[in-house]
Point group: C2
Chain length 224, copies 2
DNA sequence: CAATCATGATAGTAATACTATTATCTATAA
DNA sequence: TTATAGATAATAGTATTACTATCATGATTG
């Protein structure tokens, strides 16, 4: 199944999905950010890599922060899309929460193709770079430009599932954002700062899932 | 009570605590990072602000990333110090966990003076910038240089308290790091991206404390 | 009094993060 | 078929950042 994800036009100057060069920019950005880290990634290096010029890249994105934003918003949109797809027929909230957790640890087989995007590398970028989007001095402007909408939508969607499970749960939004962040952070920690976790790097997905579901259900079941 | 916090010499080229200029660098960095955000903060601006030269600042810190690291490690060290101080006489793990949570939301009165450091601004910097220390491409080298030791020590200390409360708890480290991160993130979200939380900005400390203690005790009490 | 150490003053470099201008090439609409 | 609009390439240039190097000065210490 091929999907085309449409993102908020605020995220780009020129839609990268609409041209070969644009798709190339996305594809190679993902590869290069994965390889170099966001800090060392530059438009100049990217341009050299795909045999175009810096100026051409600037026609698509104002700067590299916006480009990262595009990529990560693509991820959130895709996640919500998947979540809706997998939970569409399932009426059982427990099962829906488990599906969510599987998605968050990136365990489910992907049903959607988007040829120029490497999902593995994208996931990797999200775990290590996504915080940089909002922990800035310009959060408020960016927020007004709706740059975090896909993330907020996903969290809202998750909070609804929590409230299906426990109608009177007071912290559904905070739990949603915490669960998402924790999934990514703990994965990163397990790999690079293992003493901050209780996981074995080799069994990370299984153990992290256990932790996340322990977290979600402990909190949702606590009637105090 | 005046405290002097000694940090790992890997964090600086020349100990900023040992000179007027050094202390000035720390003091004004905190103010400027708070005001400009880390991205826009530069050694040039800092030097201009305290009437010294860029070159002089470089004699203390290799670069601004290292300076941020110094500041944030100061915070973690100070936090652990406080935690030990407040829980030293208290044998009750429940109470210790509550003390921890109060510290994490920055609610307790500070017993320690360190004249050139503005604690409020420091806390603010930690909530919005601390992730940038480890979410880099050079985590591993930095980790080997022991740049995260104070944070890891604090989390370990917290995990011990969790295990005092529940001897057989399997996720004490992950819960510790999650709780710390969550305290900061939710605070930031409540302020700038409130739809990711369930908190009222004006009652943030009370409500966040409720959430964090709900989280900690739900998880620690869940015997499944 | 000599030595050394910290800071200041000044200069310079490579890389980054852009902006601007003009030329070329291509698709399509008149 | 030709005109033209639109996209990209080629090239150049600027301000700022993130440093490094050198030398002078002034304070401290042995």
């Amino acid at each position: 199944m091929e999907i085309q994800i449409r993102l908020n036009p605020n995220l780009y100057l020129k839609d990268p999905e609409q041209s070969e060069l644009g798709r190339n920019i996305i594809k190679h950005s993902i590869e290069m950010i994965h390889e170099l880290g966001f800090e060392s990634f530059t438009f100049k290096k990217l341009a050299a890599n795909i045999n175009t010029t810096e100026a051409s890249v600037y026609r698509y994105f104002e700067n590299k922060h916006r480009l990262l934003s595009y990529i990560i918003n693509w991820y959130w949109t895709w996640m919500e899309y998947q979540f809706n797809f997998y939970t569409g027929n399932v009426k059982n909230p427990v099962q829906n929460i488990n599906i969510l957790i599987s998605l968050l640890v990136f365990e489910l087989d992907d049903q959607f193709i988007s040829s120029h995007i490497s999902k593995d590398k994208l996931y990797n970028i999200v775990t290590s770079e996504s915080n940089k989007l909002y922990f800035t001095h310009h959060v408020e402007e960016d927020n007004q430009a709706r740059m975090f909408k896909p993330y907020k939508d996903l969290c809202h969607r998750i909070s609804l599932v929590f409230n299906e499970y426990n109608t009177s749960y007071r912290f559904s939004h905070s739990l949603a954002s915490t669960l998402v962040e924790t999934a990514h952070h703990q994965q990163f920690f397990a790999r690079y700062l293992p003493s901050l976790t209780d996981f074995d790097k080799r069994k990370i997905k299984t153990e992290l899932k256990a932790f996340l579901s322990h977290m979600a259900f402990s909190m949702l079941d606590n009637k105090k």
